[in-house]
């Protein structure tokens, strides 16, 4: 590969990672999606339609909010990229609108999706309703219990939510089940994957659909910061889509890129190379190679792998990956709420918790500027942190 965060070619490799580790039955479907995406992405008409929907429907561009009071407390200039203000409340919509348009272009009539916390499921159900497609969302039985509200949202939006009762009955099993279902229905169904994961072209395509975060933020930083480019660009990492989209806008600059994972789901830090859900990357697994469950206070980060491009960025040193504890995250959520009036998603608060810690310890030098992607809003988390307050 020549330039970082560019087209990974037909093999879909990011250094040692990525690829297309799927059963033969899915190969034609993946190839067809890759071809359709290449074609669409080069078509100004498609780009226009996407931009129009993101603008008039999903609320883009999202603001870059200077966190004035918190900046003062931390001694750094903190800018928040407000993905929490998008329709459905997280960056997931950027990707889903893109893929739904692609599915429509390919003549597919149904979207399949996996979901953990339910954010991607809700976004998929939303895009399906918007374009008149059907949606089937796979969700672990345990997550269904924990995230009842998002299940209801999907129902209201007309999506079918299929409980997954196998394995740990959480996100990774929902991925397995979505893929199994896809294998059986590639003719009429399109698998709308929710992060920079899965077989080629998904990690690349999802990053491209999320690139809008980083590109907007970069232009907004140029207007906001004397130095035009922030010293740090920080985002939380579950699968890594909001981070990938953010980093894509800054990878060619001097900004230091930091991805922040949950301590209990830190594939970049504690994972080993492995193959899961169609791609090779860093994966949390036991000594025998059985994939382990990730655990964090943020359901959206409970994924035992990390997007292959992140593994590559880590190996090359272009991005750093850090972890924070659940306790730091909840404290960060409350602190942001009380200083800026923003209740952010627990996922996003991982990025913030790292900034708070790093600014406190001097690791981020006083006076530095930090661009942080606030990937989603925290309404969904309020009930669950009730006991932690």
């Amino acid at each position: 590969m020549t330039t970082l965060m560019s087209d990974p070619g037909t093999t879909g490799r990011f250094g040692d990672y990525g690829g297309r580790y799927v059963p033969e039955s899915l190969i034609p479907a993946c190839q067809e999606i890759e071809a359709a995406f290449r074609d669409a992405w080069a078509d100004p008409g498609f780009r226009d339609r996407l931009t129009t929907l993101l603008t008039v429907y999903a609320g883009r561009p999202t603001p870059l909010t200077p966190a004035r009071r918190l900046s003062e407390e931390l001694g750094v200039t903190l800018l928040l990229k407000r993905e929490d203000l998008t329709h459905t409340g997280s960056h997931k919509i950027n990707n889903v609108v893109g893929q739904a348009l692609l599915a429509q272009r390919m003549g597919r009539r149904r979207l399949l999706a996996e979901t953990g916390a339910g954010q991607h499921g809700v976004a998929t159900a939303t895009a399906a309703a918007l374009l008149g497609l059907r949606a089937t969302v796979f969700m672990g039985e345990r997550d269904i219990e924990r995230q009842e509200l998002n299940v209801l949202r999907m129902n209201v939006l007309g999506a079918e939510v299929v409980p997954v009762t196998t394995g740990s009955r959480t996100l990774k099993d929902a991925c397995n089940e979505a893929m199994r279902h896809w294998v059986a229905s590639t003719d009429d169904s399109y698998y709308c994957l929710g992060s920079v994961l899965g077989p080629h072209p998904y990690p690349w395509m999802v990053r491209e659909f999320q690139r809008v975060i980083g590109e907007e933020a970069r232009a907004q930083c140029a207007a906001e910061l004397p130095a035009a480019v922030p010293d740090y660009v920080v985002a939380c990492v579950g699968g890594g889509s909001n981070a990938a989209g953010t980093f894509a806008g800054f990878v060619g600059t001097t900004a230091r890129l930091v991805g922040v994972e949950a301590e209990g789901g830190a594939a970049a830090t504690s994972g080993r190379a492995g193959v899961l859900h169609g791609f090779r990357s860093l994966v949390l697994q036991d000594e025998h190679g059985q994939v382990t469950e990730a655990h964090s206070v943020a359901a959206g980060l409970d994924y035992p792998g990390i997007g292959p491009e992140h593994a590559h960025l880590r190996d090359g040193g272009r991005a750093r990956y850090a972890t924070v504890t659940d306790e730091e995250v909840v404290r960060a959520l409350v602190r942001l709420a009380r200083t800026e009036g923003i209740v952010a998603a627990l996922e996003s608060c991982h990025a913030l918790a790292w900034v708070i810690r790093a600014a406190g310890s001097g690791r981020i030098a006083p006076g530095s500027s930090v661009m942080l992607t606030l990937s989603g809003r925290g309404d969904k988390d309020i009930a669950s942190i009730k006991e932690l307050l």
Partner: protein, 256 residues
């Protein structure tokens, strides 16, 4: 036994249809007796599943068998130890997922399999494009890396798969995951015909072979069948090796 999987199967095919039953290693105590019972009942080879936490191509039955096996402490090393002591007169073929294969490296995994006497390897989530190194390592260890072909595979690609597969070509009867189904899909017949035109290697149908009648029907379009879920469901329901052997024998009779 030192003959390769493919040579062995070609020889068997000369006299009849091929039957390859499957068992998930560790899904029940004494699972090696199941392997023996299969062989005794007339299996031409036995497929041994190395259980993985996230078996993307498997249906509920084999998922459950895998979960049970893992919960019981089954590991690759443990399986290999048991298999080493096992000689049932027909070749044993490992079936597992990429993550277990690439734990250290494909080469080391193949070496370990070969050392334990296994003759073949099936890795459903390692398709043609990703199989290069692994295929080389397998050749080096005298292990046949079996590739899959699907009803969705275009003809040109089928040719490549047929050319690069070793041991046999694993033809998927349908686009869904494993599990029992009643009908024999038309697409299976077509896939079987095409593969037979493209290669002299044995072509075996797998996925959803759930009755002797159906096995016989499928085998008409190819060289034989792999039977998995139908057996594993019985095993999960408490069937003993002898009963499983009887079921395989009934398949055998249907095929002959």
């Amino acid at each position: 036994m030192t003959t390769s999987l493919e040579t062995f199967l070609l020889a068997r095919r000369a006299t009849g249809r091929l039957l390859v039953p499957y068992v998930t290693a560790g899904a029940a105590p004494g699972w090696t007796d199941v392997v023996r019972a299969y062989a005794d009942a007339g299996a031409d080879a036995v497929e041994i599943g190395f259980p993985f936490s996230d078996p993307m191509l498997d249906g509920v039955t084999i998922q459950e068998a895998s979960d049970r096996a893992i919960a019981a402490g089954t590991t690759v090393t443990g399986i290999l130890d048991e298999v080493t002591a096992l000689d049932v007169g027909v070749p044993l073929v490992a079936m597992t997922y990429g993550n277990l294969v690439f734990q250290r490296s494909g080469a080391k995994f193949c070496a370990a399999l070969a050392m334990s006497g296994l003759r073949g390897l099936i890795v459903p989530d390692v398709p043609l494009e990703e199989a290069g190194e692994l295929a080389d390592a397998a050749v080096k260890e005298g292990l046949d890396l079996v590739l899959l072909a699907a009803p969705s595979t275009p003809r040109a690609r089928l040719g490549e798969i047929a050319a690069r597969s070793r041991g046999f070509v694993y033809a998927l009867t349908r686009m869904g995951t494993t599990g029992e189904r009643d009908e024999v899909p038309e697409q299976a017949a077509r896939l079987g015909r095409e593969l037979k035109e493209l290669t002299d290697r044995p072509v075996l149908f797998g996925f959803g072979v759930s009755s002797p009648r159906q096995a016989a029907e499928l085998a008409r379009h190819a060289d034989g069948v792999v039977v998995a879920s139908a057996l594993m469901r019985r095993l999960l329901d408490g069937a003993r090796p002898r009963e499983l052997g009887e079921y395989v024998a009934s398949m055998r009779r249907a095929l002959d």
